[in-house]
Symmetry: C2
Subunit: 142 residues, 2 copies
DNA sequence: TATTGTTATACTCTATAACTATA
DNA sequence: TATAGTTATAGAGTATAACAATA
C-alpha cells in the first residue's frame, strides 16, 4: 500500500475528531461542555491547583477562573486553600461532581465498544504505535 | 500486554488532542483560528455551499455566516451565487486564501514528520487499523 | 522580584429562535 | 410547505493586560 504521511495524518485527525464529537455528546448528557467535563474529570482523579488545570487545558490561567466558577456555582467542585502556599487554590470535586463524572465514564463505555471491531492483537499494536507517536506530536507545540 | 479499551481510548484521545494543538499553532501563524483554517481548507479543495460547511464543521448553519463573514472581510473567500438554486451561496477561496492554506500545508509538513518515527510497515498498519475504527466512532454521534 | 489567581476587556465559536428569499 | 441563508441573542472558551495577595 505505502501510505503517504499526509494521508495517514488525515486519518489520525479524523479519528481524533470523531472521538471528540463522541466525548462532547456524552458530556452534554450531563449538562457539561467538553472543557468542563475535562476539568471535572481531572479534579476527580486528584484535587489540583488552578495553575495545573490551565496546563492540562493548554490555555491561559485567566480562563480557568471562569470555568471553575461555572462548575462551582453548580456545586460540582470546591476551591480549597493550598496547604502550604496560601496563593494556591486547590480544585476538588464534590460528591455531586464525582457522580457526574461517573455517569460520563459509564456512557463512554459505549464509545469504547467501538474498539470491539478490532481484535486483541490489533488493539495492542495500535496502542504501541500510538504511544510511540505521541511524544513526537506533543513536543512540537511544547 | 493486553491493553484495556479505556487505556487505548486515552491514547487515541491524547494523539488526537496533540494533533489538534499542532494544527491550531500552524493555523495561528497565518492569523487563522482552527475553524477558519478548516473552512478555508475545504473551500480550497472545492467551492461549496454554506450548508455543506455547516455539516463539515458539525455545527448549526447559523454559525457559518459569521465564520465566512470574517474570512470574506479579510479577502480570503468570496460568496458566489449558486448556479441553479438562487438560495444557495457558494463559498470560493480567493488567490490570497489559497496562498494562506498553502502556507498552512507547508507548515503541517513538520507535523507530518513526526511520522518518521514509524517505519513504513508501522505506518501502513496504523492506517489500516484507524480506517477500520473510524466508521465505528463516527456513527455514534451521526 | 516572581508567582498564583483574579478581573476587565474583546473576540471567536456555539446553539436557539425568528426572519427573508427562494423553491 | 420546505429549504438556504441571515439576524438577534445569549452563553462559553480564548488571549491580553493590569491587578492584589503571597512567596
Amino acid at each position: 500500500m505505502s501510505t503517504s504521511k499526509a494521508e495517514l495524518m488525515d486519518v489520525i485527525a479524523a479519528v481524533g475528531g470523531a472521538y471528540y464529537q463522541d466525548f462532547a455528546a456524552v458530556a452534554a448528557r450531563q449538562g457539561l461542555t467538553p472543557v468542563q467535563a475535562k476539568v471535572l474529570g481531572a479534579a476527580v482523579r486528584a484535587p489540583l491547583p488552578m495553575r495545573a488545570l490551565a496546563e492540562a487545558l493548554v490555555c491561559d490561567a485567566s480562563n480557568v477562573t471562569g470555568i471553575v466558577d461555572r462548575l462551582e456555582s453548580r456545586g460540582l467542585v470546591r476551591r480549597e486553600a493550598g496547604p502550604q502556599d496560601r496563593r494556591v487554590k486547590i480544585v476538588t470535586a464534590t460528591d455531586e461532581g464525582r457522580a457526574a463524572i461517573l455517569a460520563v465514564r459509564e456512557d463512554m463505555k459505549s464509545v469504547h465498544d467501538a474498539l470491539d471491531r478490532l481484535d486483541e492483537q490489533e488493539r495492542d499494536t495500535l496502542h504501541a504505535i500510538l504511544q510511540k507517536l505521541l511524544p513526537e506530536l506533543s513536543q512540537l507545540t511544547a
